[in-house]
Every structure is written in structure tokens, then in C-alpha cells.
Subunit: 254 residues, 4 copies
């Protein structure tokens, strides 16, 4: 059994830092690195890529709508051709830093509102895939497991990694529960580790309403910016290793 | 005899266009394409790269200080490491659009205040070269002929194209005359064509004070945004062709 | 009979100009001046305000979603409290330039996607009104005649100017026809002048489907950036003056 | 004896926070509030102004060069007229939030590289003063005590508050020691309190080389973003109160 643990990194900007990047980099196998449009700037991108390369962590681009003040968290009504080109731009910039440090960008994971929109909107899903593959046809596209985005990306013939969330509640259709609902966030580290183990070993997750829903867990997303994030991640990682799960990069996974 | 004719293109942004790009693209052999930080945005970069590729025009990145409102024309006191990474970022973004259209970025020409600073400041010159070569060690660096920038870039072992200006006056040291001084701009198309011919065939230019100054003219810079620009460029191009000068891309030149 | 003729001005940015502002300023009575977030920058805002003050043109703020690359034309999913504060920010900045030139901001007209959203979305409409009145409770809010925005603004007790469009087709409900449909744009200057005269004198407009729809025309919007804009505006203005319509600022109108 | 204690606040942006604003606001009498161009955004400006108004802290604008990624810390070669208009823009935006919360902007303190440049460069000093007074001729301009900026602002007839630094070393000419030199930062809270007491009560400060230098201390600048900042500020504040110094806003001071 194998899985990639991915986390968003490099999400400061200029004077502002965000999250314990150095600690997280020791624990994950895939870094989604901000590319300047919701967070990240050239010196920070370079430093984050270098650190990932040193630690053997798989390097991924984390493109966003162009919205620094909103941190890429609000939907913007852009035509798909523009979304595509904004993705290409961001992936290309990160690729140059990967080359600078003797590494390669392996995967692309859309950020925030762009990722959320792609889950349900075919035009956006297609634009992200096209934008990434324009920059390099070998890139792996990270998609929400079970979403329209997953279907579209697979139909387009891209390499695809299906993603599940370590600490998020699911509904009976296999979609993430809105953060406003009870059960949306799983706080207990042991429960998180148990759920992830079930996702990886059995390919399913239990919805808040009790049903078991099939999920494809090529990669598990963890969040780095909540208070107990590092401790939870450390526990999750150790638990998976103890059970004999091999932790790999996203490029190695698919 | 051979020379590359280069021009800045793709310098609109969003709603705003600038310059007759389509007409210019028919007449030049090397396009310096804005990369988003002084002008240019992803859709525009993609369209400009595609047009250059279709016309066989050599594709160059035109990186700038991050200053959209100032169009990259004002000096910013950035540390050299930041300059380097901002150059890498912009070159990388353009490289992705080149790949998208089956082409390659051949050269890098710094824009505006960044180019001017590099002419005299070794740290800036070095940062630009490092930033470009991080993205691809084969890139040709465009430098002001006779400048400190030229020396630094050659010492660093980069492929270098020395640049002269078709319509600008020179002083006796071979530097461009400040735009505030009389003789700074050459307006007569015939005089422009004659001066360029002398630069290309004899490797020298006459200063406003009468002296002849040696210049290496691997590439001639023309400006596209003045009223008579297209006509002057058309005349210059025809005059060079009539004299048997081969017009090549910057990548073919050096 | 009285009416205000309003037009968007100051919509360049940095190196980029847009539209014949100086000519337009001679013909209109109310200027909606870009405030930096879709277009406009401080020197340009100052110059545009000064010109309006010199010509006796009423000064209005033209706030937008924060989206320079998209020129404020794409919807952004911002919470209403953020919309409110972004409006206050932009109005406040323009007020300072008005004071600098011994003038006052009279009205606020939301730009592009923000204006369009407010026509149908009560939360956005309310946020714009609150944001403007935070900066000055005497400001006149410009609203699409017959829209939800108009209702909300009037219920909130604001001074309100209802706006109609000189060169746009209407449907039978009194809404602007989508630009994609035939009849969306009226090109004939005589027809434009006739339609506006009917709006002003009879308070109604004929829909593309033939019905007559009541409209309150406190102010007529003209566009400055199409090829024949200045000529059409000159004709419209003269036609209104010939018929004895008094042309006033938006602050004088309501 | 009276003095104002000022501190930079509201210097986060979007997703990023910076500094313990709420704690600092309890201890200072004058807040320099970021206006969006080096930090700060509309919702944050509104919240910071409201908090200052509630606590009776004097509200000041903290305008900067337009450089979010560089946090306004790098010199930009802008013409003075542009500096002036960028200052007016930022002050105006903050004034609108002050009005929204029933308060007034009392003072203007330039940020970072803009402040540093003004200390020695008359054109920049003059541009800041003009930009502020355009927005409101009653505003107090905060200047480095003993600088060219102070001279210029006083000659221009503005209300001026001379500023000294609680935790910075001075040279024999009364200028701040470069942060790269030993003695540039005073770390001992007791020494800081003692130095400030001497500035306030005797109008002088001891240089690192031993000389006593006269300084006018209308207001003391404290920094909020270093680890022991709140504790040092609490000690300083108490020490001044114990000695009978009245703590006032900058508007009350001059």
C-alpha cells in the first residue's frame, strides 16, 4: 500500500510568513507551492522549492485565481481560456525554480476557490488540466476524489491523482461537508489516523450520516496552518508507517 | 553580415493595449515579450508567443522590476538575490507559453529601469544573468553594447548579444544620450537606416559630438510605440535587406 | 426638464491611456472617475478631478471589485462587508483629490461587474450604499432604473439617481438586453437622441419587442470608448439643449 | 510634560496578520495605520480605525511607496508629484474610514523607505507634506527629529510632530545608527525607559559615542513586531506615567 501526503506550502508573501513550512516539509511527501497569485513570491518560491528538493519531497504547483487580498478563496468569474493561461503562467514560473534547484515539478493542485469550482464545473476543470499540460504534458493533476473534476481530467488522458482529506467530514455522496456544518472538521488525531488508514487500505470513508462511501486515495491532503497541525500530521505519518504504508511523492504514486 | 532586429511587444495589460504588435511582428526578428510585472498578462503572453512562433520571430523574455503602475521605468532598490529570483519567475512563466506553442524562449532582455541599472551596476547585471540562466543555461542575455553589463555577462560565460539602438544618439563614451538632451532621438528614417548600416557593417557609431565610437551590434533595438515607428522600421528593414544583411533571431546570431 | 449626462473617465492606468477624456469632459455633466482598483491611479485621479472641477462637471467615484487585470468586469464572490469597505476605500481616496482641487465628490456609481451584481442582488446593493454613505451620507447613489438596486437604495434613505442608457436596447421588463443579443446596442445617433428625449420627456423607453416600459431617467449613461462616441455624444447633447432640456450634475438633479 | 507614543498598526494584508494590534492599542496614544500600499486592506483599515476610535488612540495615516511585496521598505525612484498624489490617495482612503467610525485622522507618518528618503531628500519631504495637506491642511506631519524633513515641513507651515525612537541608538549628529552597527538597537527595557525619560524631560539623547545630542521628542516611536515589544512598551508607558508625563495623541501634542 502506498499514498502521498500533500500539504500547501510557501503561502507567505513578502513580509508575511504563514505556517511552519520547515517542520511540515519533514513530514509530507508532496508540497503544493504557491506561485505568486494568491500567495508566494519569487524568493519564497525559490526557497520552498529548494527545501523540498533537499528533503526529497515532490514538488507541485499550486495555482490560483489572481487574488492576493482574498488569498484565492473567492470565486472569480473568469472565462476558461483565461483560467487556462493563468494556470500555465504559474506552473511555468515554478518550473523555472525547480530547474534552478535541479528538480522537477511533478504535480499541479489548484488552490482554494479554483479547486472548489473545478469540482463541479466542467469548463473550469478542463481549463486547469489544459493550463497544466500546456506547461508539461507529464504533470499529474490532483483532483477531488469522486468529483466532476476527476472525471474530466481522466477523460482528457492526463495523469491524475485522486485526493481525499484527512481531517474533513464527508456526506453520503462522498463530497466534503460544508465547513459550516457540524462534523465538517475532524479534530481527534486518532480518529484522523484511523479514517486515513481506512481510505488507503479499503478505499472508502464513512459519511457523517453513517454510510460508507468509496473513495480513491492516491494522496491525502493535510492542512498546515491550524494550531495542532504538526502534531496531527506527525501522528498520522507514524501510524501509516507503522501499518506498512509506503509514503511516496505524487509523481511516484500515479 | 547578419543582425537581429528586436522590439518590445505584448506590453498591454488586461483592458489596455499598447502598440501595433501584429504589424511589428511582420518586420522584426526578435520579440521581447512582457512577463506580467511591468505589463503583459497570461492571455496576452500566450497570444504574443503564438504570433511570434507563427512568424518565425525569436522569442525573448522581457523581465522587469515588479511595478505595473510605473511600467517598470523607475528604479527599485531590491537586493540582487531578489532581482535574480524575480527574473527567473518571469522567464519561467514565458517558457511555459513557449512550450504551449511548440516554441522556445531564446533570449532575455531586461526591461526599463532594470536594464538601465544593469548597464552600470555589476550586482544588478550579475543578478539578471543568474536569474535567466537559472531558468535555462542556454538563454542569450541581451546587454547594452559597451556597458558594464556586457562585461559581466561575458565574464560569467553566458551567451551574450550586444545591443545598439537604431534611433538614439550616443555620446563620445558610447553611452546613450539622456532623453532630455538635444540629439537624443534620431527622427529621420534615412539617417536611422544609415546609422544602423554603419553599426552593422563597420561596428561603429558617430557620437553627437562627432567622434566615432566602436559598438558591437549583434542586435538592433527598435521602438514600436512612437507615431512613425512602423514606417521607420519598414524602411530600416528594407534598407538592410537591400544591402545584403541577413536578418536573424537573437538565438541564431550568437 | 433636466437630466445629467454621465460617463466613465480616468480609466487608464500608469503607462496606459483609455478614451478621449478631455473631449468627453466638454460634453458631459457628471464624471464617474476610476479609483485605482479596476483602473485609475493617484496621479491620474488627481488630473481627472482637476479637469472635472475646471469644467464644472460633477465629480463621482467609480468604485470596483479589486481586479485590475480584469478591469472590474468579472464577478468576485466577496462578502458584503468586504464590498462595503472596498467601496469606502475608493470613495475616500477620490474625496481627498476633490478636496485638493477645491471640489466635492457628489455621486458614486459602481463599476462593471459590481454594478451589474447590485442590479439583482440585494446584499451587494446594500453594501455599495453603506460603503458610500460611510464616506459621506450626502452622496448620491447611481442605480440602474427599475432594478432591485434602485429599490434597496431608496429604502435605505439614500439620495438616489436612476440611470438609463443612451445606446442600449431594453427588454419588456425594462432590463438591458444582453450584449450578445441583436438590438443590444443602438448605433444610429439620431435614434439614440430620439430615445433619450423620450426617456427624459415621457419617462419611458421602447423595448426591442415593441412594448413601452416606464423608466426614471435622472441621468443618462454614455460610453466614451467606442469609435463614434464623441460624435454621438455631441449630437445627443445638442439635441437635448435644442429641446430645452437643462443639463445638470447628478448632485443638482436629485 | 507630555508626549505621544506612536506605533505602526494594521500591517497585515488579507490572509496575513502581523503584530499584536489589540494589545498594542491599549498601550499607545497614536496609531500609524497602513493604507493598502505596503500593507493594510479596506476591511482591516476599517477594523483598526474602529479599535483606535474606541480606545481614544489618535488615528494617523501611514502611507508608503506602492510596494506590497517589499512592504514599502525599498526605495522607489518616483517623481515627487507622484509621491504627493500617492500620499493623498492613502490619506483620503483612511479619512473615509475615520468618518465611518465618527473619528478623524489626526496625523500622517510616512512608512519605511518613504520616511527614510524624506529624512535627507527635500523633494520627497515636500511631496509628503503636500500630499498630506491636500487631503486636509490641519493634519500633523510626523518627522524624524533633527532631519531635513523636519526643517522642510516646518518651513512649509505644517503642523509638525518631531519623532524620536525609543529603542534605537543615535550617532553624534543625532541620526539613527544603521541597523547593521553595534548599538543600533537598545534591548534593555530599563535603559529604553530611561532614555525616553531623558528625551522627554531634557530634550536630549546620548549618542553611542558618548556625546549628548539635542532632540525634540513630540512623539516616541515604538515597534510592535519584535518578541518583547509588548512588555517593553508596557514598562515604558508605566515609567512615563509614574514620572508624571501626560500621554497624549499627536493631534493634542502639537
Amino acid at each position: 500500500m502506498r499514498v502521498a501526503i500533500n500539504c500547501d506550502l510557501g503561502e507567505g508573501f513578502g513580509r508575511w510568513d504563514l505556517g511552519p513550512d520547515a517542520e511540515l516539509m519533514e513530514l509530507i511527501t508532496a508540497a503544493n507551492i504557491a506561485c505568486g497569485l494568491h500567495a508566494g513570491d519569487p524568493p519564497r518560491m525559490s526557497a520552498t522549492v529548494r527545501l523540498a528538493a533537499e528533503k526529497g519531497v515532490g514538488i507541485g504547483a499550486h495555482p490560483s485565481y489572481p487574488d492576493l487580498q482574498g488569498f484565492g478563496r473567492r470565486y472569480m468569474d473568469m472565462p476558461p481560456e483565461e483560467v487556462r493561461d493563468f494556470v500555465t503562467y504559474q506552473v511555468g514560473a515554478l518550473q523555472a525554480f525547480a530547474r534552478a534547484h535541479g528538480a522537477k515539478v511533478e504535480h499541479v493542485k489548484a488552490h482554494g476557490a479554483l479547486y472548489n469550482r473545478a469540482a463541479d464545473d466542467e469548463a473550469t476543470a478542463r481549463a486547469i488540466v489544459e493550463g497544466a499540460l500546456q506547461a508539461n504534458p507529464d504533470l499529474v493533476i490532483v483532483v477531488l476524489a469522486g468529483s466532476r473534476f476527476e472525471e474530466v481530467a481522466r477523460q482528457m488522458g492526463a495523469r491524475v491523482a485522486s485526493e481525499t482529506f484527512a481531517d474533513r467530514g464527508y456526506d453520503a455522496r462522498g463530497r466534503l461537508l460544508s465547513r459550516r456544518l457540524p462534523g465538517a472538521i475532524v479534530h481527534d488525531p486518532d480518529v484522523v489516523a484511523e479514517r486515513v488508514w481506512t481510505m488507503v487500505s479499503e478505499g472508502r470513508v464513512q459519511a457523517v450520516t453513517g454510510e460508507w462511501v468509496p473513495v480513491k486515495a492516491d494522496t491525502i491532503c493535510v492542512h498546515g496552518d491550524s494550531p495542532g497541525a504538526v502534531a496531527m500530521l506527525r501522528g498520522l505519518r507514524q501510524s501509516l508507517l507503522d501499518k506498512g504504508v509506503e509514503l511516496v511523492t505524487i509523481g511516484q504514486m500515479v
